[in-house]
Symmetry: C4
Amino acid sequence: MTKGRMEAFSDGVLAIIITIMVLEIKVPHTAELSALKSLIPVLLSYILSFIYIGIYWNNHHHMLHATTRINGGILWANLHLLFWLSLVPFVTGWMGENHFASITMVFYGIVLLMAGIAYVILQNLIIAKNGKESTLSRAVGNDWKGKISPVLYVLGIASAFIHEALSGMFYVVVAIIWLIPDKRIEKVVED
Amino acid sequence: MTKGRMEAFSDGVLAIIITIMVLEIKVPHTAELSALKSLIPVLLSYILSFIYIGIYWNNHHHMLHATTRINGGILWANLHLLFWLSLVPFVTGWMGENHFASITMVFYGIVLLMAGIAYVILQNLIIAKNGKESTLSRAVGNDWKGKISPVLYVLGIASAFIHEALSGMFYVVVAIIWLIPDKRIEKVVED
Amino acid sequence: MTKGRMEAFSDGVLAIIITIMVLEIKVPHTAELSALKSLIPVLLSYILSFIYIGIYWNNHHHMLHATTRINGGILWANLHLLFWLSLVPFVTGWMGENHFASITMVFYGIVLLMAGIAYVILQNLIIAKNGKESTLSRAVGNDWKGKISPVLYVLGIASAFIHEALSGMFYVVVAIIWLIPDKRIEKVVED
Amino acid sequence: MTKGRMEAFSDGVLAIIITIMVLEIKVPHTAELSALKSLIPVLLSYILSFIYIGIYWNNHHHMLHATTRINGGILWANLHLLFWLSLVPFVTGWMGENHFASITMVFYGIVLLMAGIAYVILQNLIIAKNGKESTLSRAVGNDWKGKISPVLYVLGIASAFIHEALSGMFYVVVAIIWLIPDKRIEKVVED
């Protein structure tokens, strides 16, 4: 089975997710700077989620590039990942509109955590299908990023009950960790 | 005629359908758990329809993978299928917003039934074009899933007049039946 | 210059146009049949426009399939066509929401007419680039459909001032004329 | 690393951006010409932004066509460009709805300026990766368009404080400059 259409479909869904988030930044009906100022939390939450979806697209791109064989289970694991990512515009909008209130930070973290878990499931299924000696398997290696991310998400969720800023800090840290392109996969792939 | 652009266009439409459904989950203006609670039926209907569109994409993927030749009639049969699927976000939103009221369950079932019929028409046209001895024809085989689904849809529509939960159960059962990846096609294709 | 990305981009835009139209069918807040009944004109206008966009995608597919060379002018002629088609959801929604009022029928016809002209411009540029002896040039032939369509659009626009139904009839006739797949191109291409 | 998926993802995002802008042209609830008249500024701002996104797609197409190698940094520079372009529907809608008020013209210019800068960064990274002797490097040449555009954007932003029409003029001039297809790249590529 070829991976081409799975890539095309994922690209389509991710492109739509990243773009419809901008629809949450409602056009103000007045032409005043103050109207724009009240949109700053919405814009900030948009930027954070844009980076997260960008990271997922980037890693998804690298992962599938190093993949040669897929099957029905992988297609569904991929849809499972896309499901959680499709909820990102919702939690992003909720968080932005309510100025990062605790409860919205909790659900933002939950969606990120579930997407992270879905990604790991997808990765494991692909490695299982392509073999321990596959390019991807060697590229993923010990995967410290994948291991530390859920811990940070849980800390972000828990700390939202103490202070919103603390929670936000954890989500920003995960984004920064992943923003650095995965040199391991990149290097192995380019060999 | 190549099937490439038909796949690309279908992927695009299905990716958009699956993603814009999330726009029906309106961002609450308050940061309270109760606001989220009232969205649970909307979320449940979203999950069900996400799985349905996922199933269609999955089967569409397998079907076209086993296809070599298409023609104008097939292009239109494909558009006919996409038309019914494009109504899924509407009936999903209507069903979710009105907490699975009978009348909304009826129309949800009708759209699913019509999409199912459209899929069978498309499949038959493709088999007719590619020959009885084609990979697809052998893969589809006796197609019990395709035969039982319309029956279950009709039962779902009819039972909506008795009780909503009964109707919903039929729609969930069809989803579960199809969720199991089509081993037949997969196997034949991989040979 | 390859035509691949122009096809991909056009597919994307057409897929989005055909799908976002469904967003104009606003989900009713009540679960009553009467709520659905008032949506019938919106649904009818959606079906007509769905068929029109389907026709454009179909013909666009055939035209580019028979094309080997493109250039900057063709890219812009293509964007020009997509611009007019991007206004289809707007005029469709306006027409549907106002129950096919005369003035909305006039603007629906104008957008269709402009899209038709844009298509002819694109076709001529492609033929000019690919030569009189190209597959496309032979396939298009005397192009009676392309010649009669603008006449029917103008009749549709003019008759909207007399009666809406008369105007609608002209738009339906054009759709039917084109719904029949272009055997000429299909035949030449398959040779 | 292949450029295919980066092209596909960019095509998807640009196709969505160019199309969702049309959603800002809200369907009037009355069937009167006056209702349409009040939409003229929205339509004009839509046309301008449609051309801008069209230019970006066109140049992006040419640039990547002349590219052979990409890396992680290029993927992120591309996402950075798409981020600024994703804000175009927002500033377009704001500008249109408020009849080109000064403050909206300022932010429209800022988003265009940032997108322009993001494009130059992307171009430089691609040239650095592909070498000074690459097709793209020769094609870009002295790049007077890329150099004059930011100057005109800044003039457009500054002059918005004097008169809106003056500001708009600058933005239209940049669009006209770029509307002329990049003969240099086109020529080099076709060689």
